[in-house]
Symmetry: C2
Subunit: 329 residues, 2 copies
């Protein structure tokens, strides 16, 4: 069977691809273990890996129907739709955000509908669907109130996926991701960039600025667990979702101070001291609008689990991205 990952060149798409290839099979029902014979990594740039006979690297615009029709057919049993224009960019370029986050998502659902084989479609969504006055713990039935175009577009895509699933056009599921930390790669313009930067940069020999106060609470999931949750989310029997296909993935709630203390305990003072505090009101405001914790009862019932602790997250990052070296000063 074929599997498609949109956004397949991104860090999460790459991580998911490695996870799928190492598993080799998807358990789509109790009776069926289907082998992943072809894994299409579709993105606007060529994915750099993984190097594997099963991987097909594809370049294309997912808002172009012919591109989707080229890479989705009735053998495409599972689609992981990770491609998105990120929040800052969707706010700066409204038309681009609508085109990719809304129109392309709908087009993907339509292409599946026309094929008629009701594939599993896993959408990733975001904390950005929430906003306004929030309770301390966001529940599964807390109303969405996005305060960004990115959040609004994700909310719209969630509702479309739910209705296409209810009608049997697809067998969809939406996984709302906590803030992913520790991300590999470079710092970027995202408001959440620091949530990885304050760990990754010191560990790789660089200074890093923390723009929020130490008592800022974050709701985190590691890339490793995120990839595991995406696969597990795909394997859940559709009926288990009942009348709602959207699930908040479990995370762990930690303060920024706790994260840096863990870095200090694991990697030593010299490395932890590479974090420089420099408050940025704009980022504090955005991050402060995100829910610091959400109720994970439903996710756990569905078999989706969080990281054990931030120390686990940190040690996994060292294992996965730094070759297992825990660099001391």
């Amino acid at each position: 069977m074929k599997v498609l990952i949109t956004g397949g060149a991104g860090f999460l798409g790459q991580r998911l691809a490695r996870e799928l290839l190492s598993r080799d099979v998807l358990h789509l029902s109790e009776a069926t273990s289907s082998r992943v014979s072809e894994l299409v990594l579709l993105d606007v740039v060529a994915a750099t890996g993984p190097h594997d006979d099963r991987v097909r690297i594809a370049i294309g615009d997912i808002a172009d129907r012919s591109v989707l029709e080229k890479f989705i057919d009735t053998d495409t049993v599972a689609i992981f739709h990770l491609a998105a224009v990120v929040s800052g960019q969707a706010e700066a370029d409204f038309d681009l955000g609508m085109r990719i986050n809304l129109d392309a998502s709908r087009l993907l659902l339509e292409v599946c509908r026309r094929l008629g084989h009701s594939p599993r479609v896993v959408f990733t969504s975001s904390v950005a669907v929430y906003g306004g006055s929030l309770t301390d713990i966001v529940l599964d039935d807390t109303a969405l109130n996005p305060q960004s175009s990115y959040g609004a577009e994700k909310a719209v895509a969630e509702f479309l996926l739910n209705d296409y699933s209810r009608r049997g056009f697809i067998d969809g599921r939406v996984l709302r991701l906590p803030t992913i930390s520790v991300r590999p790669g470079k710092p970027n313009a995202a408001a959440s960039s620091f949530a990885s930067g304050i760990i990754r940069e010191p560990l790789t020999g660089h200074r890093s600025v923390c723009p929020v106060s130490g008592d800022t609470k974050l709701w985190l999931l590691s890339p490793r667990k995120a990839a595991e949750c995406l696969v597990a989310g795909c394997e859940i029997d559709g009926a288990a979702f009942g009348n709602r296909r959207t699930v908040n993935l479990p995370g762990i709630s930690v303060t920024v101070s706790e994260m840096i203390k863990t870095l200090r305990d694991v990697a030593g003072d010299a490395i932890a001291n590479r974090v420089e505090w420099k408050l940025d009101e704009r980022i504090e405001k955005i991050v402060g609008s995100w829910p610091a914790m959400w109720d994970t009862t439903r996710a756990i019932e569905l078999g989706l689990t969080a990281d054990a602790s931030f120390e686990h997250i940190l040690r996994n990052f060292i294992d996965d991205e730094l070759g297992g070296d825990s660099p001391h000063d």
Copy 2:
């Protein structure tokens, strides 16, 4: 100034048109009372009235951009977007529902955005955005969980209107309507058609089938109050909505048995006995998924009010639609 009503030939559009014409002005700010110099009633069929020099009757497909561009210009200060494919039809014809309830709504927002004058846009939405396991009283922050394509399309349109408003492209507001009763006209394909039919049909000499059990609770608003709320909703200062442009309109909670008892009290046994009970599981299921009551604190703070009682609703229907005659057997 110009005012546009989409769905202007429908019963609510017609009722709203009469309300606007009799008021003659819209109070769009404390300082400004703008005269309604032109009222465009746009629909797929020609509106039959009201006969008034200010009225311009227009026929066109609102999913056609050129139609919207013809009837919206920078003098169009207020738009009431009532046109929709009803729930039963949107469920039966998925593409049609998406085209009118989603694409045309978005197109309307886009046409306004391109003009750049940020007009007031009043969308009507529906109880159908709710569904699944609901608490007895739906709160303003109860999560949406539509269980029909109509509900999903309305939810999507709500999020789009909110984001277009947040960005200043329009000055929008969404009013979620309770079930409107007593509607004039003929029974239609809406699952809620009986909520008017069981009163209107007996009063106009016809038998009527009630497809749900007597203890079914409905959340009702009269056409008269609905038109008043639409005008009031348009006149509210945008800032009063805070970070959420969507408001649940106040209604009254009554059971179907109470409705028929009121009919019996007001119009007599012979008329009330024209209601025939014949359960329809499909309709019971849809209606049973709707909330029977919602918290109206926010609506009332914004100055939007409900009918006093179902007896008031019934007597208003007799006054407004039957010329004041309360027909006895």
